[in-house]
């Protein structure tokens, strides 16, 4: 077993050496360098496209998905080896995708065989870019009160309503969307999970400018949009189950974001901004905060590992994803407050090359959304109070 893994590691290393273009081993200069794929995506350069195509051909954009749909079919251990080997040579992610992170897992669990055959391969190859249509103006944390209506017209629905916080809706090809299919049912009942093309007549999007200066989200409007019934995922009026399953994935992902980002160690950066006093940072208060953060970052990484291991053993807590989401996002916000503190005046520059066009400041501001999107910290705490602690009235 361990020997098989070592053999696999060797193969991977050799393949990566041959196939990962040198340009794809450079750190991202900015968010614009990320590869999102999709019908309208413009590759930065030849290398980016090559890297995506080669990885997709092996199924390694989704290492653990089944081979039959074009995935890598790797075991969890093998996937870990692949990630480690990619990290070793600083290989960039070949494809960032809500299709991979969110829709895919839901389809694998709730999709029909036809749906899997139809939608998974283009996700894996980065041909179709997806966005998520959950939140509405009046239904942020309170998703169950959503208003977007789908009227039954026999073989299709006609959808009317409005979504907000649709990630990159202006750049996405398709949307997975919660709509109300039974207006008489209340709250969590009567909601369905459907898929449709963003080019369907009646769909319009309007980007939202964020405090970070970026516009990764849109308002999305549906005006008599036709949705085929074959594009219903899961059971009619039971879309809430799919959404919940998917939210857990999203929560774990958002919670883990700070980890994945690969922030430079703050203790090292601080050396140049506040200087040393003997063997310690001259600003001993900043040193204290960094040391305490480092302790917590390391512990949180272990908590993520432990949660995965517990799930594998069938020991998962009902609200483990809520815990990771809550703790991880709050930690990430704390981390970026310190990034700003360590960076000092330089990190406050918004447009200079010196500050990589305000990269630290923009990311700092972006982290503030972590504890809001995918269920606020307050909602996660409610869930823990109810499902883990069984507190009355929670």
């Amino acid at each position: 077993m361990a020997e098989d893994l070592e053999a696999f590691r060797k193969d991977v290393r050799a393949w990566l050496a041959d196939n990962c273009p040198p340009e794809m081993r450079e750190p991202l200069k900015d968010v614009e360098d990320r590869c999102w794929g999709g019908r309208r995506f413009k590759f930065k350069n030849e290398a980016q496209k090559l890297w995506l195509d080669r990885m997709a051909a092996k199924g390694w954009t989704t290492p653990e998905w089944p081979k039959e749909y074009g995935g890598g079919g790797l075991s969890r251990e093998e996937a870990k080896v692949l990630r480690a080997e990619m990290a070793r040579i600083n290989a960039r992610s070949p494809l960032d995708s809500f299709g991979i992170w969110m829709l895919g897992p839901a389809l694998l669990k709730y999709g029909t065989e036809e749906q899997k055959q139809k939608f998974l391969p283009p996700i894996i190859r980065g041909e179709i870019r997806w966005c998520q249509g959950y939140s509405e103006p009046g239904a942020g944390s309170d998703l169950a009160s959503l208003q977007t209506r789908a009227e039954d017209r026999g073989d299709h629905w006609i959808v009317n309503g409005q979504k907000v916080w649709t990630s990159y809706a202006d750049k996405a090809d398709w949307i997975f969307c919660l709509v109300r299919t039974d207006p008489a049912a209340k709250k969590h009942e009567g909601i369905s999970f459907v898929l449709f093309d963003m080019e369907t007549p009646g769909v319009t999007t309007k980007p939202i400018v964020l405090i970070s200066g970026n516009s990764p989200f849109c308002e999305t409007f549906f005006d008599n949009v036709r949705v085929e019934k074959e594009n219903l995922v899961g059971t009619l009026n039971k879309g809430w189950d799919v959404a919940k399953y998917l939210l857990q994935h999203e929560r774990t992902m958002i919670g883990a974001m700070g980890q994945a980002a690969g922030v430079r160690p703050l203790g090292q950066i601080a050396k140049s901004t506040v200087g040393m006093d003997g063997e310690k940072l001259a600003d001993t208060l900043l040193r204290t905060d960094i040391a305490r953060l480092d302790v917590d970052l390391m512990a949180f990484k272990l908590a993520m590992e432990r949660t995965t291991d517990r799930i594998k053993r069938g020991l998962s807590d009902p609200a483990a994803a809520s815990m990771l989401k809550y703790y991880g996002t709050e930690l990430n916000k704390r981390q970026y407050e310190l990034v700003m503190s360590v960076g000092g005046a330089e990190a406050l520059e918004w447009e200079s090359e010196r500050s990589r066009k305000g990269d630290d400041a923009r990311t700092w501001l972006r982290t503030k959304a972590n504890s809001i999107e995918g269920g606020t910290s307050e909602v996660q705490l409610n869930i823990i109070a109810k499902r883990i602690l069984n507190l009355p009235g929670a």
């Binding site: 009160s145 907000v164 140049s272 600003d283 700003m340 960076g343 503030k368 959304a369 504890s371």
Partner: protein, 377 residues
Amino acid sequence: MPLVLTEEQTMLQESAAGFLAESGVKELRRVRDERDPDGFSRDLWKAFAEMGFTGILAPEAFGGLGLGHVEAGVVMEEIGRNLTPSPFLSTAVIGVSALKHASEDRKADLLPRIVAGDLVTALAVDEGAKHNPARTAMSATRSGNGFRLDGKKSFVVDGHVADLMIVAARTAGSTGEQDGLTLFVVDPKTRGVSIERTVMVDAHNAARIDFDGVEVDADAVLGEVDGGWKLLEGVLNAGRAALASEMVGVGDEAFTRTVDYLKQRQQFGRLIGEFQALQHRSAHLWSDLEVTKAAVLKALQMLDEAPDAAAPYVSVAKARAGRTCTLAVQEAVQMFGGIGMTDEVDIGLFMKRGRVGQELFGDDNFHADRIARMASY
């Protein structure tokens, strides 16, 4: 001195509040979105002068009101509430505090122009990413009849629009020492001065300034050669306390808007202000703000009444303002939720200004460290 505003100060507060609320946060948006080359409105600044604000700290002999730091703080707090971009801090507070130590001739020349709203000043002290005046490395070497300045300054508020700069440089001693610093009054148009405006996250003015063999006369010296530390500290303390006052305004306004929002926004069929967890966090924040307000007012009063003993009070005020304002804007964004993340709503602007205010003239760590040093532990 009781820790409350006098009747006159309360009147000043009301008039500043009314005046500044007229343009409100819109003015910051205009400056930012139009990429205003000055970073503030000259007309508005003239109106400041007409209101008398520019001359609050200037002696009456030079056309000022001859008032104190408490009054300057009152205006700063309202500037904070409205995020008003203006050279009030750099010029009416710091510039005037510094130039009070100039020769009578220079005062007679400069102060009336500041009071009239015709002269903007800037203090160039920081060199690295973090505030640390004792680490000043910029050199001033004797040269001919005066000095030659070489070095780089950063985070110079209003540096690119200043008509006159006050510059800290080292005439003796080495980096890290307080002795050996000297303050200079420098015309930004002098040869060898190059200025780069740095657009900041909060859309307020700042600049980086290079001094490459800049020649100044001997009378450019403000205060005493090698003995500039005490003067610099005094000027900085005036700036720090005023800034703390601005940050109280920023934090308090963000808080007020948040509490209003809690009374309007519905989720799960209830006003979110009904949720006890948010109630407790709001009540804690209110308490925190109250304590900070006391600390800031005391620091301002000490600058007026016993400036030599003001340093610890100023550090407590700036440290508290830094932490409290940070908490206030963080809670604001979180409680506003998604909408608070959008540029459409003002809350994010308060968070940005709060962050810059925290960093300017020493963050809460810098000032708590100063408290520890004063108590020698």
